[in-house]
Amino acid sequence: MSPRLSIETLYVSHGPAVLRRARQLLGDEAEAQEVLHDVFTSLIQDPGQFAGMSSAMTFLYRMTTNAALGRLRRRRTHARLLAANYAGREEPTAPNTETLVELRAWLASLPEELAQVAVYYHMDELTQEELAGVLGCSRQWVGKLLQQLQQLQRRRHGK
């Protein structure tokens, strides 16, 4: 099977999970489609990226998470730029999305590794073992990261 054909197969079998995941993280259909595009374009350009990975799904989860978190961070930067240009105006926000908007803003403010952990643990509800598999680290390290995350959460909630 040629690399291109493999990725085409992967697009059909794993693309739905990538798109769903990007939607969940970004809350924006158009941006989710862009992440889908970026993830698979990157694989077309460099098919060897997931060579040696035991699970393509795990690899794509991580890739999608990184792409979406990158966008959340850029969105935060963009919001600051827009705020500078649109002084006095506010972006309309639907009340029922407030919590998710806050959550995304929080994710965008976290250090990269902790943001990933927050997504995998709180949004995906992965076990520590699964989390270690996706991050490619030990369970002990996962435990340490979760502790750090909890400290930041407590600080965020003023506890």
């Binding site: 990725i7 862009e34 374009t41 799904m57 963009h78 500078a84 240009n85 709180h122 959460q153």
Partner: protein, 244 residues
Amino acid sequence: MTRQRSADCPSDLRLDQWLAGELAQVERAALEAHAVGCEPCQRRRSELMDAQRSFASSAPSFAALSQSPAKAGRSWRALGPVLAAAAAVLLALGQPWRYWLERDQKNTRTKGSVAQLDWVVRRGERVVAGRPDQSVRAGDALRFSIRAHEPVYAAVIGRDGAGHVIVYYPEAAELVQVAAGTDQPLPLAIELDATPGDEQLHGVFCPRPVAVAQVKQAIERSADAPALPPGCSHQRATLHKEAP
């Protein structure tokens, strides 16, 4: 944030691996045995399977995806199904929009510089290449990329009609290195406001890290010929804001 999934139930990752056929037979059998008696898992599995069916009918085809290569524009929302379809039509006509875009961009090259700031302007669903003297409107969104013959330290700085200078890129104390390449996208997008007057865009390229404040100050003092550190080059473009 409270975890809601029962400890016995598989995560979405596990279900996705199962649907993608990645689980070993033993793991698959265990998961299926659990799902038989678990209503939430059955429901979640159905949702994921529905999403797979929906993907097959509504997501961009792989062919469209792999034929939309422009890095500068690849992050645009227009690269969803609408533009993918448009790109497919253009490809069929033998006139890929990428070539049109590149041809247009080549005309804006800064003479003698090791690098060049490129941008595209999105207005609704339409995306056009940036030009040195360009008419724009409030609400237009600009996305930037750099083409460089060699790795270069870059900054993008804006100056509005009132002379206010804002550093768009980077968000750092020093210029950030951009790799050599034809379309190196910057993590930067701006949306133009309704303030009247021309806006200037300044691209600054240096062979080594330079303080952003130093570059900003140089442009504040003289937008036409900023006194930049030795070896740095400067590119300026003016955007003419059309009346709404």
